[in-house]
């Protein structure tokens, strides 16, 4: 039983998610293939739009995977390969938006929103503490309250 379990676990450990990649597409050189996989994960398939070319079965994704591999095999750097695709399909082909003037708002938004939320919390808490001070009873009121409670107890 334990032996079976061990075999199953080992098999699972060796199973790398293969995406939509077909065996024939793979490069013989494992280092180059690994780079191609990393690049493929960062490029959007424009046909399905929320899948990377590594995940997509679309024709265009397969063609782009082939282009990536050809260019890597020709000795290009990862950056050059991505630039080649980006020059043709634009920034939208990058799954991670680049940091540039047109995306400053996009990148800054989470920080700004979090800052605003934190500020709101601080202001509200401060105010609430202030409100509690105001609500405290005066000495006169305390005395009256004590009298009322006493009356009730009798």
């Amino acid at each position: 039983m334990i032996r079976v379990l061990a075999v199953v676990l080992l098999a699972l450990a060796g199973a790398v998610p293969a995406g939509a990649l077909e065996p024939g597409e793979r490069l013989a050189d494992p280092a180059l293939e690994a780079r191609a996989r990393e690049i493929g994960k960062t490029l959007r398939c424009l046909v399905c739009q929320n899948q990377s070319i590594d995940d997509s079965d679309a024709d265009l994704a397969r063609d782009l995977r082939a282009v990536v591999r050809e260019r890597l095999s020709a000795g290009e750097t990862d950056r050059q390969v991505v630039a080649y695709v980006r020059d043709r399909y634009g920034d939208f082909v990058l799954l991670k938006p680049p940091f540039q003037p047109s995306t400053y708002a996009l990148w800054a938004a989470p920080v700004v929103l979090f800052g605003l939320a934190a500020l709101t919390v601080v202001v509200v808490l401060r105010r609430r503490r202030g409100a509690a001070d105001v609500a405290r009873l005066s000495a006169e009121e305390e005395a009256r309250l004590a009298r009322l409670l006493d009356d009730g107890r009798r």
Partner: protein, 180 residues
């Protein structure tokens, strides 16, 4: 203290306005948010050096562009929307618009049968057997139609079949402007 009511109301109003504007824009006949703008708009058309479809003459190269505004249609016999828009291309060609074709990943026999059945509106056709010219042009959906001006610059790209409406509201006015 009034701030407590004013701020959320203001936030709500701004969001409502943004959503309303957006819904208005994507409404019927509005913009298609799934459409990716071409990076080549107002830029030189990417280089082309395509042979003709086997058994035909022509082919399509960069030198064929320029001198006069032209429609470049990326098509294939395996693409149903290409079939749908074909009559519009035929009509444009009859009216004297110069239409070039890039035939992508097609078997020569299939491409020729497609043109024999529906007519051939193309003054020149380049055969892109591997689909690499299509990638160079940033093509991601079929068909796609480009308007290239007399200086070989891409002025407009349409993804998907062109409709009568696209023709009348965008393509014809643009061609008329470029012909001036």
């Amino acid at each position: 203290m009034r701030l407590r009511y004013v701020v959320p109301a203001l936030v709500f109003a701004v969001l409502a306005a943004v959503f309303a504007l957006y819904l208005h824009q994507v409404g019927s006949g509005g913009k298609n948010i799934a459409e990716v703008p071409s990076v080549f708009i107002e830029r030189a058309a990417p280089p082309l050096a395509l042979p003709p479809i086997e058994g035909m003459t022509g082919g399509l190269a960069s030198a064929d562009l320029g001198g006069r505004a032209v429609l470049v249609n990326v098509f294939a016999s395996w693409c149903p929307p290409c079939r749908a828009e074909h009559p519009l291309l035929m009509r444009l060609a009859r009216e004297g618009v110069l239409v070039y074709g890039i035939n992508v990943k097609d078997k020569p026999a299939d491409a020729k049968a497609f043109l024999a059945e529906l007519g051939n509106p193309f003054a020149r056709i380049g055969a892109d057997r591997q689909g690499r010219a299509a990638i160079d042009w940033g093509v991601y959906g079929y068909p796609e139609t480009f308007v290239v001006d007399r200086d070989s610059r891409i002025r407009y790209r349409h993804v998907g079949a062109i409709t009568e409406r696209d023709l009348e509201t965008v393509i014809r006015p643009l061609l008329a402007r470029l012909a001036r």
